[in-house]
C-alpha cells in the first residue's frame, strides 16, 4: 500500500524588538550568562509584566505578511509548567484569544498551506550542562516569540522545506526576525502522521520537537515517515507521543507519551490587560509593509522581463532585491543588472548569512553607473565584467578602472568609420564574404576590433558590416 505523509508545523520565531516582551532588557543574542536580565524577566516575587507594544506591532506585520486576520481584541494567558529555565513556572502565551487568526503560506506550486493562528509569547532561558552540573542562563528568558501554527496541510518533505523557507524569507523581508535556525531564532516542532493514499481520515501523529535546521527537518520527517509506515505495515500502531530527533544517529526517540503529556492549565494572565488593536493601527502597519517577496518576484518577471528562476534568486533575500531595485534606476535592461548580480556578486556572498546581509564593497549606485556605461556603448561587456571584479575587490567606482582612452571612440559614428575602413582595406575578405564565405566576416570584425584597440562591440561591428555589405 502507498502511504501519504501528513504534516503540520508549529514554528517559533524570535522577534527582533530592541527590548524583551515584558521588560526593558535587551533581546541581543549572546552575552555573558544572566547579564541581559532584570527582576521582571527572572520572575522575582512581586514583579509584574508590562507588554511591549512593539511586539504586538511586529506580530501584526507577521500576520499581514501571511494574509492572516488581525484580531481586534487579544488576551494573554499563562501556560503553566515546571522547568528550571522557566523562572515563573509559567510561560506567558496566548491560547484563548490569539493576535492573528488564519492566514496561509503560498508555495511555488500555487498550493496554500493554511495557518491556524499566530500568537505571541515569551521565550524561556537556557540550561547549560557542564562538568556534570546544570546551570541556567536567563538571557533568552522573555525574548519575544511568535508561534505560527499551521494546519496539517503539508504532504511531502519538499513542501515542508519550501514552507519553512517561505516563512523564513517573508519574516526576514518584513524585518521582524533574522530567522536563524542555527542560533535558535527560528525553531520548528513538526507533526507527522501517515495514512493510506486516498484516505480521508488522519493517522495518529507524533510531534518532533525543536528542529533547528531545514536539513534535519527533512531527514527527521523522512525517518519518521518510514518508521510509521513500517510500523503500520508490520501490524503495529503509531503511538501519539513527543519525539526528539538525534542528528548523529538520524533517528527519532520518545521524549514523552500522550499519558505523560503536560497539562498546561492555561488561564488568562490576570497581570496583563486586554490588548485592543484599533483598525487604524493595523492600516498604518499595512502601509509600512515592504513589497512582499512573492509580489516582488511576480513584478520582476512581468514588468522587468527577468526570467522566473532569476527573479526567485533575486527576491529570496530582501537586501539583494533592494540592491537590485536601487541598481536598475534608469538602466536600459534590468536583466543586465540581474546578470551581474547573479553571475558575479553571488559568488562573493556564499553563505546564507552573507546573502542575508549582502554587504559587499560595491554599492548599487556603483553597479548602476557601470551598467550605464555599458548601455551608452562606451564600454563593452567583457570590460564591464572585468571592471566589476575589480570594483568588488576594492569598493571603488568603475571610473577608477576604466581610463578615458578605454571609453569613447566606440560610439555609432566611430564604429561606422571603423567598419568602412575595414571594408575598404580588405577587398579579399569582402569578396570572400560576398562569395558566400560567412567566415570572412570574422576577419572584417577582427580588423575593426584591432583598430579600435578592443573597445568596439564585436556584435555591433558585425551587424554594421553586414548592413554595409548587404
Amino acid at each position: 500500500m502507498k502511504y501519504e505523509l501528513v504534516s503540520g508545523f508549529e514554528t517559533h520565531i524570535e522577534l527582533q524588538t530592541k527590548t524583551k516582551i515584558f521588560c526593558g532588557c535587551t533581546t541581543q543574542f549572546g552575552g555573558e550568562p544572566n547579564t541581559h536580565c532584570c527582576p521582571v524577566c527572572i520572575g522575582l516575587p512581586g514583579t509584574l509584566p508590562v507588554l511591549n507594544r512593539e511586539v504586538v506591532r511586529f506580530a501584526i506585520k507577521a500576520g499581514l505578511a501571511v494574509h492572516g486576520e488581525i484580531a481586534s481584541v487579544a488576551k494573554m494567558d499563562r501556560k503553566n509548567y515546571c522547568y528550571p529555565d522557566l523562572s515563573k513556572a509559567y510561560q506567558i502565551s496566548q491560547l484563548y484569544a490569539p493576535l492573528i487568526i488564519g492566514g496561509y503560506v503560498e508555495l511555488s506550486s500555487g498550493k496554500k498551506i493554511r495557518l491556524h493562528h499566530i500568537h505571541i509569547e515569551e521565550d524561556a532561558g537556557k540550561l547549560i550542562h557542564r562538568h556534570g552540573d546544570t546551570y541556567v542562563d536567563y538571557n533568552r528568558g522573555g525574548v519575544p516569540l511568535i508561534e505560527i501554527v499551521s494546519e496539517p496541510d503539508i504532504r511531502s518533505v519538499d513542501e515542508a522545506r519550501e514552507y519553512v523557507e517561505k516563512l523564513q524569507q517573508v519574516m526576514r523581508y518584513i524585518g521582524i526576525s533574522d530567522c536563524r535556525m542555527q542560533e535558535g531564532s527560528m525553531r520548528c516542532d513538526v507533526n507527522v502522521s501517515v495514512r493510506p493514499e486516498g484516505s480521508e481520515t488522519f493517522g495518529t501523529r507524533t510531534e518532533i520537537k525543536n528542529m533547528n535546521s531545514i536539513t534535519n527537518i527533512v531527514k527527521a520527517m523522512e525517518y519518521e515517515y518510514d518508521r510509521q509506515v513500517d510500523l503500520i505495515e508490520s501490524g503495529g500502531k503509531v503511538v501519539q507521543e513527543t519525539l526528539r530527533y538525534d542528528d548523529v544517529s538520524g533517528t527519532t526517540s520518545s521524549m514523552r507519551s500522550k499519558e505523560d503529556a503536560h497539562d498546561y492549565r492555561y488561564f488568562r494572565d490576570p497581570d496583563l490587560v486586554t490588548i485592543n488593536i484599533p483598525r487604524e493601527e493595523v492600516e498604518a502597519l499595512r502601509a509600512e509593509m515592504p513589497e512582499l517577496p512573492a509580489d516582488k518576484c511576480r513584478r520582476y518577471i512581468d514588468a522587468l522581463g527577468i526570467p522566473e528562476k532569476d527573479a526567485q534568486l533575486l527576491t529570496k533575500y530582501r537586501r539583494i532585491s533592494e540592491f537590485f531595485d536601487a541598481a536598475i534606476e534608469g538602466v536600459k535592461s534590468p536583466k543586465t543588472v540581474s546578470n551581474f548580480i547573479i553571475g558575479q556578486m553571488f559568488r562573493r556572498a556564499e553563505t546564507e548569512s552573507d546573502k542575508e546581509q549582502f554587504d559587499l564593497p560595491t554599492t548599487p549606485q556603483q553597479l548602476n553607473a557601470l551598467v550605464k556605461l555599458l548601455d551608452s556603448g562606451k564600454i563593452r561587456n567583457n570590460l564591464a565584467k572585468a571592471t566589476l571584479e575589480k570594483m568588488l575587490d576594492t569598493g571603488k567606482p568603475a571610473t577608477d578602472f576604466i581610463s578615458e582612452s578605454d571609453m569613447g571612440g566606440v560610439d555609432d559614428n566611430a564604429l561606422l568609420a571603423l567598419c568602412k575602413a575595414a571594408i575598404e582595406g580588405n577587398a579579399k575578405a569582402v569578396a570572400d564574404f560576398r562569395g558566400g564565405k560567412e567566415k570572412a566576416l570574422k576577419a572584417l570584425v577582427g580588423n575593426v576590433m584591432k583598430n579600435s584597440r578592443g573597445k568596439a562591440d564585436a556584435q555591433a561591428a558585425e551587424a554594421k558590416i553586414k548592413e554595409l555589405l548587404g
Partner: protein, 483 residues
Amino acid sequence: MGTIATIHEMLVKKQVSCTELTQRYLDAVEQANPALNAYVNVTPDTALATAAAVDKKIAAGEEIGALEGVPMTLKDNMSTKGIETTCCSKILTGYKPIFDATVWEILQEQNAVLLGKTNMDEFAMGSSCENSCFGGAANPFDTNYVAGGSSGGVSSAVGGNIAAYGLGSDTGGSIRQPASFCGVVGLKPTYGAVSRYGLIAYASSLDQIGPITKTVEDASLVFDAIAKKDKRDSTSVGGGNTYATLNRDIKGMKIGIAREYLDGVRDDVKEATLAAAEVYKSLGAEIVYFDLPVLKFALPVYYIIACAEASSNLGRYDGIRYGYKTAHYTGTHDMICRTRSEGFGEEVKRRILLGTYVLSAGYYDAYYKKATDLRGTIISAFNKAFEQCDVILAPTVPMTAFEKGHAVSDPIETYLTDICTVPVNIAGLPGVSVPCGFNAKGMPIGMQLIGKSFGEAQILNAAYRYQQAAPEKFRDTKWGVKL
C-alpha cells in the same frame, strides 16, 4: 492616640524629635512584640536613619509632609530592597529583594519611618495569622485571641500602638478582617487603585494593597499617598483623592443593606451593624434594604479563582534562584519536590492543590470557567445594587476574633469567616472596615462600607462621619506608645 495627624503635629511643633519618637516606638516594639508577635523583622537602622534625615529637615526649617517621619510598618509580602521579605513562609527564608515595591518606593520618598516587617498568614492565605511560619500575631485587645488574617501583624501592631499605621494586602478580606478583629480601620481599595508591583502575589486578580490605621482620616491620608498610577503594573489606574471630602455632609446619602450580608451573622455583630445604621439615620442618611442573592456564590467563586491563580503564582518557588532549598536531593525534579514539600505550610499546599485541580484539563470548565462566569454575574449584581444606593453597609466578619488555635482546627469554618469580605474582591470594589462596637467580652466588632468602583472618597466620607458621631467605638489598647 498615636495617629498620623497627632505625630505630624508633634513633629512640626518640635514637641518631640523624629529620632526620639522613633526610638520610643522601637522600644515599645521590643516590649510588646514578645506578647503580640506582630513584627517578624524589626529594622531599627533603617528607621533611625530616616528619622535622622527628617530631623535634619525640621531643624533646617523645611516643611514636612503628612507622612514624613511617621513610624510605620509593612506586611511582610511587600518587597523591600535589602530587607528580608518572606511572606512568613519557610520557602522564602533569607530572601532579600533587590528592588522596592512601588508603595514602599512612594513612602520612602515621603520619609516614612519603617520600623519593620509584620506578621501574616503564609503567602496571605488565612484568616487568623496562625498560618505564619513565625507563629500567629496576637490580638492587642486580648492576647488569647488571634489578630485575624492575613494582615494580622499590621493590625496587631497598629492596634497595639507599635506602629502608627501600616500597609496590608487584601485578597479576600486580609485587610478588613484583621482590622475588624483588632478594632482599627482597614481600607481595601478598588482593584487597580494601588500598584501591586513588588507585592508578592497570592491571587493577582484579587490582591490589593491598602492602609490599616487607627482613624479614618489616617486611612485617607495614606490611601491618597499610595494610590498612584504605576507604569510597572498594567492593571494600575491610580486615583487617590479622598482627604478633601472626608467631612462632607452625608445628608441624603443612600446607605444600602443587603439582607444576605446579615444571614448567619452572630447576633452581637448584627446588632452592632444595625446600630451603626441608626447612627447613619441620625446623620440624615437614608437606609435602603435590598436583596443580593448572588452573594451565595461568592465564597466558592473566591476560593476557585484565588486558588487557581495562587497555584500558578507560587510555582516559581523551586529552590533554584532564591529562598529555601532542600538539603538533600538526587536530581532537579527531586530537588524541586522536596524544596516545595518542606518549604510550604499546610494551608498553602492545600490551596495549590485546589487551584491545580480546578485548572486541570477536564475540570477547567466545571470549576474555573464557571467561577469566572459567576464573577461577571456578581459584578453586574453589585452594579445594579449601586443604582439603589451610594454605599453598602455590611458586617466585616460574621463574628469577632476567635481564640487562638480555633482557626486551625476547622479550615472550612475558617473559610466561612470570609463570607462578608470576599464579594468586594471578586467585584474589584473598595471596602473599608471601621470599628462599630464591642462584644460582651470587650472584643471589637467591625462594620464594612462598600463603595462603587473608585468610590473610596464616598466610603471614607461615610466612615469619617460615623467616626465623628461615634468616637467611643474607637477604643485604644494598653500596649505601645502613648502620645
